[in-house]
């Protein structure tokens, strides 16, 4: 299994541009998440999904959109990039809470985004 994969690894955007961060998992996990990590801060949840066709906002959803058309993929969309969105973005996945051993979130390697 490749686990959780993210593309691209790095990206530089100009203010106002748009882009999609890709995330895929091959572990048949139902739950998927997007976090952002700012310097000196912990991870903040942007959006999450409990299954295909179901998404919900996290702590910091403004400026982002997500979709979940398949179990494997959970893309994150930035429509009008702003400097405040400069960050490292992590995708994660987990299985639903059905007994022990299901709570662990598995993380991708991250996407580093710079908005100038």
């Amino acid at each position: 299994n490749a686990g959780v994969t993210q593309t691209p690894k790095f990206r530089i955007l100009k203010i106002g541009q748009s882009m999609t961060l890709q995330c895929a998992q091959d572990m048949n996990h139902n739950y998927m998440y997007w976090y952002r990590q700012d310097p000196g801060m912990g991870l903040k949840l942007i959006y999450y999904s409990v299954g295909a066709g179901i998404t919900d906002k996290g702590e910091v959803p403004n400026g982002y959109n997500v979709s979940r058309s398949t179990t494997e993929d959970f893309p994150l969309r930035l429509e009008l990039a702003a400097p405040s969105q400069t960050s490292v973005y992590f995708c994660a996945s987990s299985r639903p809470r059905t007994g022990t051993g299901q709570e662990t979130q598995y993380f991708g390697p991250g996407t580093r985004l710079l908005v100038l």
Binding site: V4, Y31, Y33, G40, M41, G42, L43, K44, L45, Y48, V50, G58, F90, A92, S94, P96, R97, T100, E103, T104, Q105, Y106, F107, G108, P109, G110
Partner: protein
């Protein structure tokens, strides 16, 4: 709501010395507790987790943590650190019911000095 406090943003320690990274949490409901490690330019990797049962939890790479409900703490320890342990360590909590979201602390940068 849940919150996690990691009081030490940076912890330098000499190689082969013991280390403790502190984590305190706040929650009105029962939680699960996690420690993740992030090596430079990599994603987060699970070190260990507390779900229930014994309050002393052993994880990978010789790390262990002890859940203390009365002090709402989940400190991470290792008796003898190696250079390869240099990384960022994050404590995280999640409620046992309701949403599946993780709440992270701000992280502790462990630097092992040779």
């Amino acid at each position: 709501a849940q919150s996690v406090t990691q009081l030490d943003s940076q912890v330098p320690v000499f190689e082969e010395a013991p280390v403790e990274l502190r984590c305190n949490y706040s929650s009105s409901v029962s939680v699960y507790l996690f420690w993740y490690v992030q090596y430079p330019n990599q994603g987060l990797q699970l070190l260990l987790k507390y779900l229930s049962g014994s309050t002393l939890v052993k994880g990978i790479n010789g790390f262990e943590a002890e859940f203390n409900k009365s002090q709402t703490s989940f400190h991470l320890r290792k008796p003898s650190v190696h250079i390869s342990d240099t990384a960022e360590y994050f404590c995280a909590v999640r409620t046992q019911t309701g949403a599946n979201n993780l709440f992270f602390g701000t992280g502790t940068r462990l630097t092992v000095i040779p």
